[in-house]
Amino acid sequence: MALALLFFLIRSLPGDPLAVLSEDRPLTSEQVRDLQRRYQLDQPLGAQFTAFMGGAVRGDFGTSIQYGRPVRQLVLERLPRTLLLGATVLLINFTLGLWLGVQQALHRGRPLDRILTTLSLTGYATPSFWLGLMLVLVFAVRLHWLPAAGSQDPGLDGAGVLTVVLDRLRHLILPALTLAAVSIASSMRYQRAAMLEALRQPYVAAARARGLTEGQVTWGHAWRSALPSVLTLFGLWLPILVVGAVFVEQVFAWQGLGSLTAGAAAARDYPLLMGTAVLATAAVVTGSLVSDVLHALLDPRARAE
């Protein structure tokens, strides 16, 4: 259903992919007809949809009009970079973000809570492209500590594994920091609220009454029960991080799926656009599934239901 909706919405966009293709050198009517045949654009929309679904079932999304290469190949080329960046940001959000959220709850109303709230909300309100540019200006252009763009340096042929890994990490730091800075506020706020709720529960008071240390009370009792509700965020964040980091990808020339999707939309590259849309849909479903499974694993009440 979602795929059908996506397919017809994308096809209803004004614009012609072959017009974009022929911008460089005008095509004759015969050449246009030939290309229309090649990309099945001369078929009725219903027939195109049937052909698309037939291919999609086999994992074949056709050939990109813009690149003239199989969509699957293009997506697979970009996927590792996207996953690397996305996974790093998720890791930061769900480790540092949750830890900071817990600290805020433990220091509720005190200076640490207020400072962290101010910082996280400032990050949340900051446009990612602006923050990215500022970080590049400071850490790359002025200090020369980190690379300004790309996900790897050319010219490392024959270099050792350590050099290559460190090179990748250097390139990862700024885009990951940028994305994390603008997104960490969500996990912090959710965790803070859930933790405050948990800390008010009678079993926490009971744990304290049994003489457990504050660390055991916080992490062993309160945090465990506060965690499941925060994990629902994972389902929301996964699709955004898979195809939604367009601006950050632009600023850092991080060639991931976000910029591929944006380019496909601009060129009306229907097969490529559908390929990335299917992936985004899959990310939504996977995100929901993973958060449900984690929720069930961590919360016995959910398992009982």
Partner: protein, 533 residues
Amino acid sequence: MLRRCGRLLLLMTACSAAPVAGQAAPRRLVIAIGQTVTNVVPTLSRSAAAREISDLVFLRLGRYGGTSFGDRAAVPELAKGWTRRDSVTLAFDLDPRARWHDGTPVTSRDVVFSFNRARDPKQAVSVASLLVDIAAVEAEGDNRVVIRFDRPYGEQLYDATYHVQILPAHLVASIPPDSLVSSAFSRAPVGSGPYRWDKLEPTEYLQLRSVPGFFLGAPAIEQMVWRFTTSQESRLNLLLTGGADVQEDIIPPTANLSRLPERPSLRVAHLPSMGVNYLLFNQRAPADTSRPHPILADMDVRRALTIGLDRATMAKAVFGRYASPASSPAPPAAWFGALAPQPVAFDPTQAARLLASRGWRDSDGDGVLDRNGIPLALTLLVPSSSVSRMQVALVVQEQWRQLGVKAEVVPLEIAQYLARRKPGDFDVAIESFTADPSPWSLLDRWGCGAEANYGRYCSRTADSLLRAAHLARRDPAPAIRAWLRTVAEDFPAAFLFAPDKVYAMPSGYGNVTWQVESPWQMVWTWTLAGAGR
């Protein structure tokens, strides 16, 4: 904690910046470009950047020689020379030193194969239509190729050399055309040029390595690397931090130039481009293209709108000193650009007078001219992705406002822009066009009924002049000059300026030669005078 983080960062910087142990740092030139290149096989490469890179891997029979007419339209490359047998036959003698990068000699079989493939519209969509005048390509032995044309005309040598890069038949002939794009050859092409394919890190960079035994002379720059970076800001940052040595199209905005001193070794190099920017006037009514445009069908109005624009100031505002005025579709960098008439002067008084003489007056005092109740209001279509064209649109809007013309700027993403331009759903469109070295290619945009003639301009006189030039066997200049004058005087567009191609690059290279139609084509002749890495 902070100190520890700082130490880690420094360690990572040191590890990655250091040259690989035991290896001398290669002399390489890293160029930051705005496009992503996935394929450089001639019949498959789709972008301008891909074609420029392809020019270093795959040679032609001859390189463009600065004119498209006559038998000096090319300088030898794979062919060491050519002779004219009659008015429709050229014979090319291949250079026996030419080798494919796998060591196999280049033979006439490769040339015949490549031409046959390029002439097939199913295999080479954009090239086949340019080769329709070639009747046959035949081999005479291993080292001679004979090309026969349908009729005598002045651009035979140009057609035989400019459009077709030679492919290795021994590697490509066995690959079905439909499978070429996904073939091993496509992933690691073998050419005969000064640089061979080294590595493509998809979406990141493409690397070529010099061919030490290249038969025309070994390149001094050992590696050429193109880094793909779509955002101009990122390209500039790469350049300033040493992640790239060269940035293409560093302007607009001109403010970028002021940042170059941050890396003192950089200098600005510029060369005239084959591009022209212009305001295309639609001569048919947008709602019904069978009728003339209610405002722009009048040549005096088009003339007034053109001379009412201060194009010199406009060019300076957008491109600084890196643009030259244009008066016709001929780019000043093309050999026939010198035949174009002088640009019409900026004259707002004369523009106002012309409009008044055609009945356009501000009868209701609202600042907008009108005639018979119709205001002189036009939509100005502009692709929002083009920084320079967006800037130009705003300047045009303001300058026309001072004339009493209301221009509504309509920024559209490129696909929408093209979708409205093709059926003629616009009044004025801000266009940018890159010409081929042949004036004949201009017929695509300015000929009656031509595929890309979106403004529906039609002058039978102009068309016949260009045809006469194309068929001229001696001096085509008079016919081209007359064609350019006719077009310029019809004002099918307000020709604005021809922007230069501007590069930021390191100083210290010697014998720097640029080819206007493919800038990097001669990089193999550059010398290292203390530059490089």
